[in-house]
Symmetry: D2
């Protein structure tokens, strides 16, 4: 931390700051300047609360220096992490993993039909929500644990790996027994009890960025997972809250190369939630791939107009098929390729 003094701070005030740093067991390094003096704090093992110094007379403000996340930082570990789902798809350099499926599991036959369609089109991970966090209590909330056998059946029928969201600690264990990857949704990015419960299963985790989360907060949420001993974390950019109601969220495509600079974890993108409109999904998916995403998560429904949630943003089977056919040349341009499907069970 660097403590910036006011231009009119006097020597006793600077000395009081130094004493206060020393009292915490750290060393203070006084940096004189033309306009004002700064005091660097040395020897602190992690970030310091700004409140410790901001009330000392003569202090203008404090500036953090230490990066607050460690285990997920690329500065700590240069080699990219690879996250593998069972015998199947691997998130990491060189691969583009396509995760697809309906927003929610609504009914078995329909779900199996979409599973078969996305597998046929080249997806290797199947998504399907059984717990749906909805803005309104009157909206469809998902079928719950009762739908787990449908996920298992789809997995067996298609050979796709399966990812689904969990929303409270109590249901983490039964879900983890069935699926290949657990998703923590955007609303729960900072739900510490849930993060800990999911991490402790040891399963691969798909962590979505909260709509108001900075990149630093996103990485700190991932740190909650990795610090529990589970390194199998895949980050997902899914749009942040913007000021323009023209799209549902504002897709932060620059977050993809930025995260690749800051962390060794794989980074994927969810253009469906980000844009909220099916007509924008193909272009934004292609943009994410061109920006270097390690995967894309696309909502697909056999009859989007009749979907019980998010029909507005879901692609139909033919639309998804067309999108998939457009990806290989872009993959080639950025040095990735579509992953091969998981060995069939």
């Amino acid at each position: 931390m660097v403590i910036i003094m006011r231009p009119d701070a006097n020597l006793p005030e600077v000395e009081a700051v130094v004493a206060s740093v020393n009292a915490l067991g750290f060393r203070a390094h006084v940096v004189p300047g033309l306009a004002r003096t700064a005091v660097a704090v040395i020897g602190n093992p992690g970030p310091l609360a700004p409140g410790r110094f901001s009330r000392i007379p003569g202090v203008a403000r404090t500036i953090p220096i230490t990066t607050p996340y460690r285990l997920v930082a690329r500065e700590t570990r240069e080699a990219p992490t690879r996250v593998t789902l069972g015998a199947g798809p691997v998130f990491g350099p060189g691969n583009l993993v396509v995760l697809a499926g309906p927003c929610a599991v609504e009914e078995a036959e329909q779900f199996l039909a979409t599973a078969a369609a996305v597998a046929q089109a080249g997806a290797t991970v199947l998504r399907g929500g059984i717990f749906k966090p909805r803005t309104s209590p009157y909206s469809f909330q998902g079928l719950g644990l009762a739908a787990l056998p449908i996920l298992a059946r789809a997995r067996e029928a298609t050979g796709l790996a399966v990812v689904t969201e969990v929303v409270e600690p109590a249901s983490v264990e039964p879900v983890a027994e069935v699926v290949d990857m657990l998703q923590i949704g955007a609303r729960n990015m900072q739900n510490a009890p849930l993060l800990r419960a999911v991490a402790r299963t040891g399963k691969p985790i798909l962590l979505k960025r909260g709509p108001a989360a900075t990149i630093e907060e996103f990485l700190l949420a991932a740190e909650y997972l990795v610090v529990e001993g589970n390194p199998n974390v895949v980050l997902c950019e899914r749009g942040v809250r913007g000021f323009d109601p023209a799209t549902r969220y504002l897709f932060d495509v620059a977050a993809i190369p930025l995260l690749h600079r800051l962390t060794h974890l794989p980074v994927i993108a969810d253009p469906s939630h980000a844009t909220g409109h099916h007509a924008l999904v193909p272009s934004v998916t292609r943009a994410a791939v061109a920006a270097g995403a390690d995967g894309v998560l696309v909502e697909v429904h056999s009859d989007p107009g009749a979907a019980r949630s998010d029909g507005q943003q879901s692609l139909s089977h033919p639309e998804f098929d067309a999108l998939m056919r457009s990806l290989p040349p872009i993959c080639a341009a950025v040095g990735t390729s579509l992953t091969a499907p998981m060995a069939h069970a």
Copy 2:
């Protein structure tokens, strides 16, 4: 819902929309215009998903008409809700309830000292976190259930009502047995399992606005509580995510009169988290009172520089005292007055 057609939509396209509305069991009302036609949907009991119509050829966009929240709407119930904590403070017109205390319970004697100080200064509800949702896993996370006896002791010693935050369903019950009001924090505003668990205790609830939540989303989160049969909900504006790092959050003072127009629930303000800086808290507290808040939630610490969380934004005992002395004339100007303390146990 009103479905807006493109200017170049032809008659068969309009008829297809009408047929699609009828197929759902609703009536369609065609509204011809100079530039384009609109189709109003009549007879739907609640909001419709836009995805149902947006893919029909000739449709430009859809506009929701129905307010998605019902029980909390002022249109449904004109009379303001009054929320009473035990024998004590009442949130509602004419009263300004002051909730104060440290961000987190750190140690018994210190907490009791602050409790006594805020009671002395005129607060009637004591705040103190035992579960602290923190951005970093390395930050102090609170003392947990072990600190419940400290809350009980402070309550008994001062006669203050006590509010504390819960962060997962599993700890709702033990906490509800001790405190007078349960807080749902900003990060958990849309945590449905937690909302339901808290609502079912029947206890008064303090619901904080999420930092990226629109007013409509905030009211829908409150609807999750009230629909469970618990009408004792107090809303709290605590700042939203803004683009300027000069303050921690952006305090949305206009949300106070806006919420009073839209809902019958009491509305309070948290200037401490909103601004993130103690020097701004007194002015923003006064602004909230002048805007018509039914209460204010202020962080107070006996030694802010040494606080284990949020010291930067906490007032010292004398600072809080000075703030409290400035409030009565503003209360008088807007027709409220500071509540009397709870009858001592």
Copy 3:
């Protein structure tokens, strides 16, 4: 500036940074840390471009230390600036200046009627736009210079000081000859040619914050004015762009005490543009006064429903009258009082 090195930066990389600082004629101060080294730059007379160092191998990022504004900074000049309009109202500590009137001058008799009404209610400055920057080219753009005589007549008839907005350098001079204060609108906060032209008139200036401007950018826009030799600058918070369409803009009430800490210039508030809705204006005006504003700018129209611009947010004469009557006790609570009107011409 402090240059933060990567944890894995080696000694030659640190030395290269030092050499690069020295090459610019400044001194480098190496601050070793547990996790990483930092290099403080000493002797630079103003902010340095981050691009100078960010490409040197081993550099993680750079942190500015120097405040980029100088003349407007409270650190430079502790005493509050007082801005006086002619023989009339003074913006500064102890006074609450009320500026009121219609969004735009539409017609002489109507404008004179509103001028008389706001004067009667206690306003001391009359607002009225003759150039209206509008989002759509099809909206009413104001009467232009032809309306200057109407402003002059209203001024003479009521004794109110007059403020109006200018939108391009070419019309600054003719307008400055008639009015008491020139307004630079939110859209033009960073329009440097306009800022310079207005500053050079020597007239008092009302500078509105841009809807996406940080506090630092706002103060730098003011610096553009003061550096031209015109210290008569009044800052106006008028709402920033938020993510919730429930209000037109998001009124940043905390900006008022924050600006008072950072600058010696007076700070007023515009609750009309900020909220965009007449029903919210009175509460937000009272909040601004309670937060310490040196003035408030309120849109008033004799027939808001018929206004050619901003009728939605304008108060009627009786609504403005009621608002004015509610202000004195709040003023008293924060140590200000309504200004006396300008001596009648």
Copy 4:
């Protein structure tokens, strides 16, 4: 416009709204609903001000139906507009136009060197600011009109078309005599006097999106240009204000396909200003191309570390060269190709 009544609105209140619509010369269409009544306004030639109805008792709110922009709307004209610079590059379907060069013209030889380098790498338009709108009055503001001959010389030497920004009406004419395209910068997107002056030159215009502008506001700014009789407008997404200081602005990649749906004007992207960091520019440029941009605007400097403005975000000559070599396969994937250079003068 649709006027939504409150659920408790009575018949006389609905009739008053109808009368008020009729009084304006329009027709009212009453749409009864289960929960509330709506009144559609028919026959209005353009958007109505909401203030006309919002104060009538029983009115809950008003909803605009009419799109406020017309000439630029794709609904008005389906065929994409092609904008041609002299004998040279054409903005429109099938072409990717690359505009490159330094942020500002600093010195003739250096500028000519960069011009030659970007031409060599495949750019067909040269950018170079001579008026730089800067946040601080102490930053380099550009060489002004004195640098026009440098632009002309670079154009002649390389055969590149030239684009530069104008910042006030007074300098539009002399600049228009020299360059091929006039840029209106993000800060001036709603500067109506400047928009009109630039449009009236008849020259092709590069209009940048303001950092807080919605898509609708952006299109209305373009409408200001086209309504003056100049259809040669190219839109440029350059990042909007976001809440995360990790990047300079938040690049809104979804705006590219969204604008293509809403308008017939070409759409390009500026990844340099959007991200503010050279390391992110290549990935974001590729994303923009994959999303369907009709062009990209990239800052290039012969010695970025020494640039007088925006060095942090400028690519060096070799970095730009590498970026250009990566684009053709992405262009091929989305059906465009790099434009051929302008016929050499």
